[in-house]
Symmetry: C2
Subunit: 339 residues, 2 copies
DNA sequence: TTGACTTTCTAAAACGTTTTCGGTAAGATG
DNA sequence: CATCTTACCGAAAACGTTTTAGAAAGTCAA
């Protein structure tokens, strides 16, 4: 069909092997031959075929990205979109392409592991999945190189954002400004991200000998502003409402604003909020949200680098954990009570 | 390395050809043999290798997605993210995977066309690129099947959202509510999307014999709320400011809100706005934005279907244009002047 | 001149499939 | 019983590469 290495060989009057060697930078090729081959290749528009190459070398230069199996938000998720984008950019600059790994390929169901094998990906990056499922387990403990984001497996490298630290900073920030009645609407406890954040929260509160009454500690959902709205309404209806509320994430702030309006509270005065993620679009809201800006750029890039390093130097592959620190973005949503 | 068809053949006591035929649903296989092969394959965890298959059949079951070459927003773009997600989901349910096509694979620059050939994609979908560039031209007029979103090439099928209609509806909506001083901050004129929208705007204004003074017609930028803020400020500082402003898109509304606040205008009373896209997150803002909700789900799905149909039935491949109609979402940002 | 290196190239096998073309055996037909 | 079908299976070539092992020709020292 297309132009193959044979065409180049024929036109250059050389063997296929020689042409191949030129493209793979072998040493035993004279400069003249090299130049000739390149010229001919250029002139007839030859480009090596990745599939054929992959078949022979068992290297596809294709990386899998596995995330969000329930596909509720998918690529649309503002936080993951940024991470994926950074991952993709780093892949590309290192010569790899990226393919999404999923379970339903056509009619037939396929395990993640099989999908990886089927596509011959050189490695796979996991983010935002159910890290405790059997399927993920099978994949992680298989021979396909992998790296996980915001979850650590003992045998694989991982990139995790310092969630404990982030919530600690936020809580500390509130306390420094005189808040003592601090509530936390956290995300789903099934994820380790949430558990780390909860740890950070309790740790800080305890350090300052502040109580956390059970009605101040609620399970919310990530990215669900409607649910957040309800929970904030509940909190504000309490006989003794909190003065500061930690939200699951930035998107939840949309619901929090509504709840505050309904209750006639002025944000940053009568009630204080903090989010998590540092999503660009949310930062445009008034009042500007105090939050932790996650370094998504770094997370995606680092994940790609770890994965590719592992692929290219399998001997040096470890299971290191790379911590990415977020940054507290001070907005206008936190009242100063001890002015 | 992995488990191959040979292993299955050996264990089942059959030839490689027979096993292959089972997996490709050939007719000349007895039910018993079929079952045996499936059983053995299952038991040793065999899955056909897509690369080998691709090499032989010249079909990779892999689709390229090409978008946003300058990578400014990339996958992060709220509108494209939704389209891509829908495209991806439809691909998957029809048995295809998706790979992003770009230009910089490793150190070496590679044309889009070469990247497609290199990866052996069965087809490619284009969205949000510079449709007038040479590179895109080369790709579109090559033999690799393609479909474009929001731009039409005569020789290829395309999916376009009814942009002219959308702006028409919005403008009409404003006029019906008594607005006559209507300004339009449009996006970059390099895209045909913008040009269609502009057509819709002028057409409606002219139909109602309403003037469009030059100072009411400004070139903004998509997704740039800061720039929008400046332009809205300018408009509101005019001796005779407009009462209604069409914004480039929903994200721009963030800037518009700021500008209105600065100028002390109450949105939906003193000044009216309309956006475009219908992005979920923006809909949570107060006051709720009147906008056109683009049917991104349908756009992505349809693009995938067109592309796959073209690949699977090349004879029936046409160059039809599929129009996707948006839906006017009535918010609270438009004042009624003729109440 | 000879042997030992170097340098540069090539032949051929291999990667894991698909697919064409036959082949064999069993059953059907006369 | 001989022949024709039919149903099922396999051998082998091919897809476009990479890579190993070695061949051919040139260089150089003794």
């Amino acid at each position: 069909m297309g132009i193959t290495i044979k065409d180049v060989a024929a036109k250059a009057g050389l063997s296929v092997s020689t042409v191949s060697k030129v493209f793979n930078h072998y040493a035993d090729i004279s400069p003249e031959t090299k130049e000739l081959v390149m010229e001919v290749a250029q002139s007839i528009g030859y480009y090596p075929n990745a599939t054929a190459r992959a078949l022979k070398t068992n290297r596809s230069y294709n990386l899998g990205f596995l995330f969000d199996e329930n596909a509720s938000s998918g690529i649309t998720h503002p936080f993951f979109a940024e991470v994926i984008n950074a991952f993709k950019n780093e892949c590309e600059s290192r010569g790899y392409d990226m393919t999404f790994i999923n379970r339903n390929v056509g009619q037939t169901q396929m395990s993640y592991l099989n999908h990886c094998r089927y596509r011959n990906v050189d490695g796979v990056c996991l983010a935002g999945v159910d890290f405790f499922s059997r399927e993920i387990h099978d994949l992680i403990y298989s021979d396909v190189p992998s790296v996980s984001i915001d979850h650590v497996f003992e045998t694989r490298p991982s990139v995790v954002s310092e969630n404990t630290r982030g919530i600690q900073d936020l809580t500390e920030f509130a306390i420094q400004r005189g808040h003592t009645r601090i509530a936390y609407i956290h995300g789903e406890t099934t994820s380790s991200v949430t558990r780390h954040r909860i740890t950070g929260f309790y740790r800080t509160m305890t350090a300052h000998s502040l109580p956390v009454p059970p009605e101040y500690f609620l399970e919310g959902k990530y990215l669900d502003s409607r649910r957040c709205r309800e929970l904030v309404l509940n909190l504000l209806s309490l006989p003794e409402p909190p003065t500061f509320i930690l939200l699951p994430d930035d998107v939840s702030y949309l619901g929090a604003i509504e709840a505050a309006n309904i209750k006639g509270r002025i944000i940053g005065q009568d009630i204080s909020f903090a989010g998590y993620d540092g999503i660009q679009m949310i930062q445009y809201l008034k009042p500007k949200l105090t939050t932790i800006r996650q370094n998504t750029e770094e997370m995606g890039k680092k994940a790609a680098d770890l994965l590719i390093d592992m692929i290219e130097q399998p001997n040096t592959a470890g299971s290191e954990i790379t911590y990415i620190t977020g940054k507290l973005l001070e907005g206008k949503t936190v009242a100063v009570l001890n002015g």
